[in-house]
């Protein structure tokens, strides 16, 4: 009887009803991060009656959180976020089960923590955690509801839902450290994560209750200053669904370890007939205008689709016009073949022309 009254306003919805409420009660949802995004997700999911809510966060409440993480108050400052959430959410809805995990998600604990849940909500604030959640969800075959923001712009999508695209289909590899500011560096207006988190709570309920069209296969970008919202259709890259184990470390981007070879060194390799493979990742029309002897043409745009032949037998030199696309190619190949020896030709064919000239050009 109590339950009936608690949820009466959503049970009376024609597309939701008693059936929808039962689906919510039976659902287990894990919210990773109890900060700007996680707080509204938790408050709404608890209110709406998700049967089991897991909360992962190793952080404590700081005064500078209060303007946007509106579940917390002055008395919570210095206490664990998960403890404060448990206290408030159990008052808000005593009929749901709350599981708290007072630590951050890591390669060691992610699979175990996540395995009990049906849907994961990525309410984190850093790239390492986002890629970890993505990879773990692929391994476990679970959908996850993604939300992220910078300034007044938010991104929302549902990844790995019924074979749909993953986070890596949108951004195959993390950006280099320091390129993209986080909330601590950029600043954030209190309401912005509230809105993005509310979208995440909505998508979670849609998945659980089978309501409407789930935001899978596309990225929604919310421009909260101008309300020029943008939607981008995504494609599933099957390669990204093949992940079978987590990376040892999500904090150090692979790009920091890219090795290079100068045109002069490569010239010596040619002259001494060293055994190496040369891959030119420029587009075929660029390749046709002039390329190095024995170079194989595999444009970067096709590289993701081409099965990785055995590149581990000899050193592989990757080149392009100026040395930037080849860096990306190396990141892509390194993801699939971590033990291949890959070298970036510094400055690409442009630098070769400048320093070496026409030698070995065809």
């Amino acid at each position: 009887m109590q339950t009936e009254n608690r949820y009466i306003r959503q049970i009376q919805l024609p597309n939701f009803g008693r059936e929808g409420q039962v689906k919510l009660r039976l659902a287990k949802v894990l919210v990773v991060g109890a900060g700007g995004l996680g707080v509204p997700v938790l408050q709404y999911l608890a209110g709406m009656g998700i049967g089991t809510l897991g909360i992962v966060d190793g952080d404590t409440v700081a005064v500078s959180n209060l303007h946007r993480q509106v579940i917390y108050d002055m008395e919570d400052v210095g206490t664990l976020k998960v403890a404060a959430c448990r206290k408030k959410l159990s008052r808000q809805n005593p009929e749901i089960i709350l599981q708290t995990y007072p630590f951050f998600l890591t390669t060691e604990n992610a699979l175990e923590v996540m395995s009990d849940y049906d849907v994961i909500v990525d309410a984190t604030d850093n790239f390492a955690a986002r890629y970890l959640i993505n990879d773990a969800c692929i391994i476990l075959g679970k959908p996850f509801v993604y939300g992220a923001l910078q300034y007044f712009e938010g991104q929302v999508s549902v990844f790995n839902y019924q074979g749909g695209p993953t986070y890596r289909c949108l951004f195959p590899t993390p950006p280099d450290a320091g390129q993209i500011p986080d909330c601590n560096q950029a600043g954030v207006l209190g309401i912005v994560p509230g809105i993005i988190g509310s979208y995440q709570a909505l998508e979670t309920v849609k998945i659980v209750a089978g309501l409407g069209k789930v935001l899978s296969g596309e990225l929604l970008i919310l421009d909260l200053l101008g309300h020029h919202n943008y939607r981008m259709k995504l494609k599933t890259n099957p390669e990204n669904q093949l992940i079978t184990r987590l990376a040892d470390d999500y904090d150090s981007p692979i790009c920091e370890t890219i090795a290079s070879i100068s045109p002069e060194e490569l010239l010596t390799w040619y002259e001494t007939r060293q055994d190496f493979l040369l891959i030119d990742v420029r587009e075929s029309h660029e390749f046709a205008q002039g390329h190095l002897e024995n170079a194989q043409s595999i444009p970067l745009s096709k590289l993701e689709r081409i099965p990785m032949v055995d590149l581990r037998k000899q050193p592989v030199v990757i080149m392009c016009q100026m040395g930037s696309r080849s860096e990306k190619a190396i990141q892509l190949i390194q993801n699939k073949l971590p033990d291949a020896t890959l070298l970036n030709l510094t400055g690409g064919i442009n630098q070769w022309y400048q320093e070496i000239g026409e030698a070995y050009i065809q």
Binding site: G33, G35, G36, L37, G38, A123, T124, D125, N126, F127, R130, G147, A148, L149, Q150, E153, G154, Q155, C169, L170, F171, P172, T173, P174, P175, D176, Q179, I180, P181, D182, C183, A186, V188, P193, I196, L219, I221, D223, G226, Y230, R231, M232, K233, L234, K235, P253, C255, E283, P299, L300, S301, K302, E304, Q321, S324, R325, E327, K328, Q331
Partner: protein, 79 residues
Amino acid sequence: MEIKLFGITKDIVGRDMLPVPANIQVHTVTELKEWLYQQYPGLEKLSALAVAVNQTYAEDGTALDSTKEVALIPPVSGG
């Protein structure tokens, strides 16, 4: 052709919409990127950047013409 800019690309270019001059001929996403990198070297430093053509995720080889609408979408991490 017009390019919509999101996230950090808006800061690098200094506006949220960038028209490509009519005399600039770019036929693929790669060629567009090369033109953009010349105009705004800061963009080339972004190691992760998605490009949408007509609101669909595009690969480097995706064909472009003046009727297409392009968007640059970098990752964002805040929460």
